[in-house]
C-alpha cells in the first residue's frame, strides 16, 4: 500500500479519535457514578457520601477537561481533513453533530462549572440536580455522536441528489432510529459505565491495599461493583445486538471479523481461534464452535451468512451497476433542469450502487473507462485486512467476559462477605484499571477499520473523502497533535496520580468526626483507637 494523503489523513483521524476516546468513556461513566453517590448523600445526609462525590468528582473534572478539549478537534477535522466527505454527506451527518451541541453539550458544559463552583451557592437538591444534568448531558452527547457514526455504518434515510452532487436526507426518522446507531449507543455507553466502574474499583482497591481511606474505598467499591456488574452484562449483551445488526447492514465487516472466507451452510460455526491468512484466503489452525455464529448473526438456524468470496462477487456486480449510475449521472448533470426522464429513471434504478463506481476512482478518473482487471481489483478492495479485525474483536470480547467475572466477584464479596476483599483480588483490581480502555479502543478499531474502504458504507470511499491538502500540511498538523497531545497526556496522568495519591481532602474533619460517631452507633463501642492513624481526628 502506497502511503499518500489518504493514509496520512486516516492516521491523523485515528490518532486524534482514539486519543479523544481515552477520556470519553470515563466521562460517561464517572458522571453517572458521581451522580449516584451524590443521590445517596442527599437521601441519607451522611457526609462520607459527600466526600466521595467531591473526590470522584475532582477526578471526573480533570478527565472532563481533556475530553472537551480533544472533542473540539473531532468536531472540526471533518471539515479540515475530510472536506469532500463534509460536502457529500453534510446534509445528513452534520445534523446530529449540531443537535448534539444544542441538546447535550450545552447542558453538560454549562452545568459542569456549577457542579464544581456551586457547592456553597446551591441547596442540596439543586446541586444534585446539577450533577444529574451533567450526567444526562454527557450521555445524550454520546447518543447524537453515535447516530452520526451509525449512519456512516448503515446509511439509511438518504438519497443522492444529482443536482447538488451529494447525499440528502429523505427520512430523518430512519436516521434517528437506525438500529445500528441505537445498538452502538447502548453498547458504547455501557462500555463507558464499565470503564468508570473498573476505574473506581481499581483506585479504591489501591487504597484498601494501603489501608487508607478505608471507609471511602469500601463504599466506592460497593457502588462500582453493583453498577459495573449491570454495565458489564449490558455491554456484552448489547455488543451482541451490534453483531446482529451488522448481519444485515455490514456483511463484509462481519465476515472479516469472523475470518469467514467462504459462505457456510446455516447455522455457521464461530471461529474461536485461528490465524487468518489474507493471501491464501483461509484461517489456519482454526478452532470452530458449531452453530454459534449462525445464532449470533441471524438468531436462527436456517438463515445463511455470506462469506467473503461471495460478498466480493456481489461487490463486483454492484460496481458494474454503479458505472451505469455514474454514466446516467453525467448525462443528468450536463442537461441540468432539462434532463431526459429516461436517464433519470436509469439513474434511479442504479443510484444505490453509485458509491461502488467511485471505488474505481483509485485506478481511473472516469469509472466508465475501467477495464475488467480494474473492476476485479476494486471488488477485491472491498475486503478489509482480516487478521487485525479478527484478533481485535476476540480480545475485546474476552475482556468483556473478564469484566463480568470481576464485577460478579466483587459484588458478591461486597454484598455477602461484609465488604471483606482478599488482597490478591485487590491487586487484580488495580492491574485491571487499563483494560476497559483497551477494550473500548479495540471496539472502535473493529467498527472503523472494519468499514474500510468506505467512510460511509457503500456510499463514499475513504480515498475520495479527503481534502485537497498537501502532505506537508497534514504532516505538520499530525506532528503538532502528537507532540501536543503527548504533553497533555503526561500532565493529565501526573495530575490524576497526584490527586489519587493525595486522596480525599475536602470536608475531612467533618466526615471523620461523623464516621467515628457512626461506627460507634453500629458497634456500640469506641473504636477511634482502632482506626488507621491518618483518618484519626
Amino acid at each position: 500500500m502506497e502511503f499518500g494523503i489518504v493514509e496520512l489523513s486516516r492516521l491523523q483521524f485515528a490518532a486524534t479519535a482514539m486519543y479523544h476516546f481515552l477520556f470519553v468513556p470515563l466521562t460517561l461513566g464517572l458522571s453517572v457514578l458521581v451522580a449516584i453517590m451524590e443521590t445517596i448523600y442527599v437521601m441519607t445526609d451522611r457526609p462520607i457520601w459527600r466526600q466521595m462525590t467531591k473526590f470522584w468528582g475532582l477526578l471526573f473534572g480533570i478527565n472532563f477537561a481533556l475530553g472537551v478539549a480533544t472533542g473540539i478537534t473531532m468536531e472540526f477535522q471533518f471539515g479540515m481533513n475530510w472536506s469532500y466527505f463534509s460536502h457529500y454527506v453534510g446534509d445528513i451527518f452534520g445534523a446530529p453533530l449540531a443537535i448534539e451541541g444544542l441538546m447535550a453539550f450545552f447542558l453538560e458544559a454549562t452545568f459542569v462549572g456549577l457542579f464544581f463552583f456551586g457547592w456553597d451557592k446551591l441547596s442540596k437538591v439543586a446541586h444534585l440536580t446539577v450533577a444529574w444534568l451533567v450526567a444526562i448531558g454527557s450521555n445524550f452527547s454520546a447518543l447524537w455522536i453515535l447516530i452520526a457514526n451509525g449512519w456512516m455504518q448503515n446509511p439509511v434515510g438518504a438519497a443522492f441528489n444529482p443536482m447538488t452532487m451529494r447525499m440528502e436526507v429523505t427520512d430523518f426518522y430512519a436516521v434517528l432510529f437506525n438500529d445500528v446507531a441505537q445498538a452502538k449507543f447502548v453498547h458504547t455507553v455501557s462500555a463507558g459505565y464499565v470503564t468508570a466502574s473498573v476505574f473506581v474499583l481499581g483506585v479504591s482497591a489501591w487504597y484498601l491495599l494501603r489501608d487508607r481511606h478505608v471507609e471511602l474505598a469500601r463504599r466506592s467499591i460497593t457502588v462500582a461493583a453493583a453498577f459495573g456488574l449491570a454495565s458489564a452484562f449490558s455491554v456484552v449483551v448489547l455488543g451482541d445486538e451490534s453483531g446482529y445488526s451488522a448481519t444485515h447492514s455490514q456483511k463484509m465487516k462481519l465476515a472479516a471479523i469472523e475470518g469467514m472466507w467462504e459462505s457456510q451452510p446455516a447455522p455457521a460455526a464461530f471461529t474461536a481461534f485461528g490465524f487468518p491468512d489474507q493471501e491464501a484466503r483461509e484461517t489456519h489452525y482454526a478452532i470452530h464452535i458449531p452453530f454459534v455464529m449462525g445464532l449470533i448473526g441471524t438468531r436462527s438456524l436456517t438463515i445463511p451468512i455470506p462469506g467473503i468470496a461471495e460478498l466480493e462477487s456481489q461487490a463486483e456486480t454492484r460496481i458494474r451497476s454503479g458505472v451505469i449510475a455514474y454514466d446516467a449521472l453525467m448525462h443528468i448533470r450536463e442537461a441540468r433542469e432539462n434532463s431526459d426522464p429516461l436517464e433519470t429513471a436509469r439513474f434511479e434504478e442504479h443510484s444505490a450502487d453509485l458509491g461502488f463506481a467511485f471505488l474505481l476512482r483509485k485506478y481511473i478518473d472516469d469509472p466508465r473507462q475501467a477495464t475488467q482487471e480494474q473492476i476485479v481489483q476494486a471488488a477485491n478492495d472491498t475486503i478489509p485486512t482480516v487478521w487485525p479485525l479478527f484478533w481485535a474483536f476476540r480480545i475485546m470480547v474476552a475482556l468483556g467476559f473478564g469484566f463480568i467475572a470481576t464485577m460478579l466477584y466483587f459484588f458478591y464479596r461486597a454484598s455477602f462477605k461484609g465488604m471483606n476483599f482478599p488482597r490478591p483480588a485487590l491487586h487484580l483490581a488495580v492491574w485491571m484499571i487499563p483494560t476497559p480502555w483497551i477494550a473500548a479502543e479495540l471496539g472502535w478499531f473493529v467498527a472503523e477499520f472494519g468499514r474500510q474502504p468506505w467512510t460511509v458504507d457503500g456510499v463514499l470511499p475513504t480515498a475520495m473523502s479527503v481534502s485537497a491538502l498537501s502532505m506537508t500540511e497534514v504532516a505538520l498538523t499530525l506532528a503538532g497533535f502528537v507532540v501536543f497531545y503527548s504533553v497533555l497526556f503526561v500532565i493529565e496522568m501526573g495530575l490524576m496520580l497526584k490527586f489519587i495519591r493525595k486522596g480525599p481532602f475536602e470536608d475531612v474533619a467533618e466526615t471523620d468526626a461523623w464516621m467515628i460517631r457512626h461506627n460507634e452507633r453500629l458497634t456500640g463501642r469506641h473504636i477511634a483507637d482502632a482506626m488507621p492513624a491518618e483518618t484519626r481526628p
Binding site: 444544542l102 447538488t164 485537497a468 490527586f499
Partner: protein, 388 residues
C-alpha cells in the same frame, strides 16, 4: 414528509443565515469575554491571588461559553455544508492554530491552580494569554480574508481546490487588511473582557481592567472605522449577475458571479443596514465612557451592543455572499446556493426553536446563581479547592 414545505426553501435559507449570525454573535458575546480576560490576564493581574481572581471570574462559565463555538462549527456543518468544507480545509493551518489554542485553554483553566509551583502557574498563565489573544486575533483575520474573497474553486464534482502552495495559503492569510480586521476583533474582545472584569472583579484587577479595556475600546473604534474606509476605496466586492432563483438546488456552480468596485454599494441598496456599523461604533464609545466612569452592568451591555453591531455589519454588507472566491468568483458561496437541503434546514430549525430558549434559560439561571463579585476571600479560602 411534506411538513417542511410549510416554510419556503429561500425563507429557511434566510433564517439559517440569520441563525449563523446569532451563533457567531452568541459566541463573541459569551466566550468573547473569556478570550478577552485571557488576553488581559498578565497585564491586569500581577500577583498569584490577583490572577486567580481574574481567572475565577470566568472559571465557572467558560466551558458553557465555549460550546457556542463548537455549536457554531456543528451548525455550519449541518446548515451550510459547503461552507464548512471550504472554510475549514481552506484555512487549514490557521484552523489548527485556533484548535491548539482552544485545546490548551480548558486544560490551562483546570490545571493551573492544581499545583503550588510558581513556574507551573506562570507557564499556564501565559498559555491562557496566548489561547485568548491568538484566537481573538485569528477570528478577525479570517473575516478579513472572507471579505476580500478566498482563492478556491470547485471541480465539476464539487471537490474544493485551493490555489497556491501550503505556506502561501497560510502566510497569505496575513495580508494587511486581514491583519487590520484581526486587530478590530482582538481589541473588541479585550474591551469586552475589560468590561467583564470591571463587573466581576475588585481592587487593582478591576482598576487595570478599566484602564486597558477603555484603551482597547478606542483602538476598536479607530481600526473598525479605518477598515470601513479601506473597504470603500481599496477592497473589491462581489455580486450575482443576471437572474437567479433563490430556491434552487445548493450547487454553487449554478450561479454567475462577478467582482464589483466595493462591497459598500450595499449601503445605497439597503440603507437600513447602516444601523449595524452605527451600533458598533456607538457601543464601543459608550463602553469607553462607561469604563472611564466605572459603571458596571450598563458598560457590559454597551460592549455587547458594540460586538453585535460590528459582527452583523460584516454579514449584512456582504449579503447574500457568505464566502466569495477571489480566484474564481463563479465558485462563490452565497445564501442561495450553499445550504443544506430543504428538509434538513427545516428539521434543524425545529430543533433550534425548541432547544435555544431552553439553553438561554438555563444559562441565564447559572449566571444568576453565580452573580456577584469574585473576591480575594473566594480564592484564598482553603476549603474551596474546586476554585481554579
Amino acid at each position: 414528509m411534506i411538513l417542511h414545505t410549510l416554510i419556503d426553501y429561500d425563507i429557511l435559507r434566510l433564517i439559517w443565515w440569520g441563525l449563523l449570525g446569532v451563533l457567531l454573535i452568541g459566541f463573541a458575546l459569551t466566550d468573547g469575554f473569556d478570550l478577552g480576560v485571557g488576553a488581559l490576564l498578565p497585564f491586569v493581574a500581577k500577583t498569584d491571588t490577583e490572577r486567580r481572581i481574574a481567572i475565577n471570574t470566568v472559571g465557572p462559565v467558560w466551558e458553557g461559553n465555549q460550546v457556542w463555538f463548537i455549536l457554531g462549527g456543528g451548525a455550519i456543518f449541518a446548515a451550510w455544508p459547503p461552507l464548512y468544507a471550504v472554510s475549514f480545509s481552506g484555512f487549514y493551518l490557521a484552523m489548527f492554530v485556533v484548535l491548539a489554542a482552544l485545546i490548551v485553554r480548558p486544560v490551562a483553566f483546570k490545571f493551573r491552580s492544581k499545583r503550588d509551583d510558581v513556574r507551573w502557574r506562570t507557564s499556564w498563565d501565559w498559555a491562557l494569554f496566548a489561547s485568548g489573544a491568538i484566537p481573538a486575533l485569528l477570528f478577525g483575520v479570517a473575516v478579513g480574508n472572507v471579505i476580500q474573497g478566498v482563492p478556491f474553486h470547485f471541480t465539476d464534482d464539487l471537490h474544493t481546490i485551493y490555489e497556491g502552495a501550503w505556506y502561501a495559503k497560510f502566510i497569505g492569510l496575513l495580508d494587511p487588511f486581514s491583519l487590520l480586521a484581526g486587530i478590530v476583533s482582538l481589541s473588541m474582545l479585550v474591551m469586552h473582557g475589560g468590561a467583564w472584569l470591571t463587573l466581576k472583579a475588585e481592587g487593582k484587577v478591576r482598576d487595570r481592567a478599566r484602564q486597558l479595556g477603555s484603551m482597547a475600546a478606542l483602538v476598536a473604534v479607530a481600526t473598525y472605522a479605518l477598515a470601513g474606509v479601506w473597504m470603500a476605496v481599496g477592497i473589491e466586492g462581489f455580486r450575482i449577475v443576471g437572474d437567479y432563483i433563490t430556491t434552487g438546488p445548493s450547487n454553487p456552480l449554478h450561479f454567475e458571479v462577478e467582482k464589483t468596485a466595493s462591497w459598500l454599494s450595499a449601503y445605497s441598496d439597503r440603507p437600513w443596514i447602516a444601523v449595524a456599523p452605527i451600533m458598533g461604533i456607538a457601543g464601543a464609545l459608550l463602553t469607553f465612557a462607561g469604563l472611564r466612569a466605572g459603571r458596571e452592568v450598563s458598560t457590559l451591555l454597551y460592549s455587547k451592543m458594540a460586538i453585535l453591531g460590528v459582527i452583523s455589519s460584516v454579514g449584512l454588507t456582504m449579503f447574500p455572499f457568505i464566502m466569495p472566491s477571489s480566484s474564481d468568483p463563479q465558485s462563490s458561496l452565497t445564501v442561495w446556493n450553499s445550504s443544506s437541503s430543504h428538509l434538513t434546514l427545516f428539521i434543524m430549525l425545529v430543533v433550534t426553536v425548541i432547544f435555544m430558549p431552553i439553553i438561554l434559560a438555563y444559562t441565564a439561571w447559572v449566571y444568576k446563581v453565580l452573580w456577584g463579585k469574585v473576591t480575594e476571600a473566594d480564592v484564598t479560602d482553603d476549603n474551596s479547592h474546586s476554585v481554579y
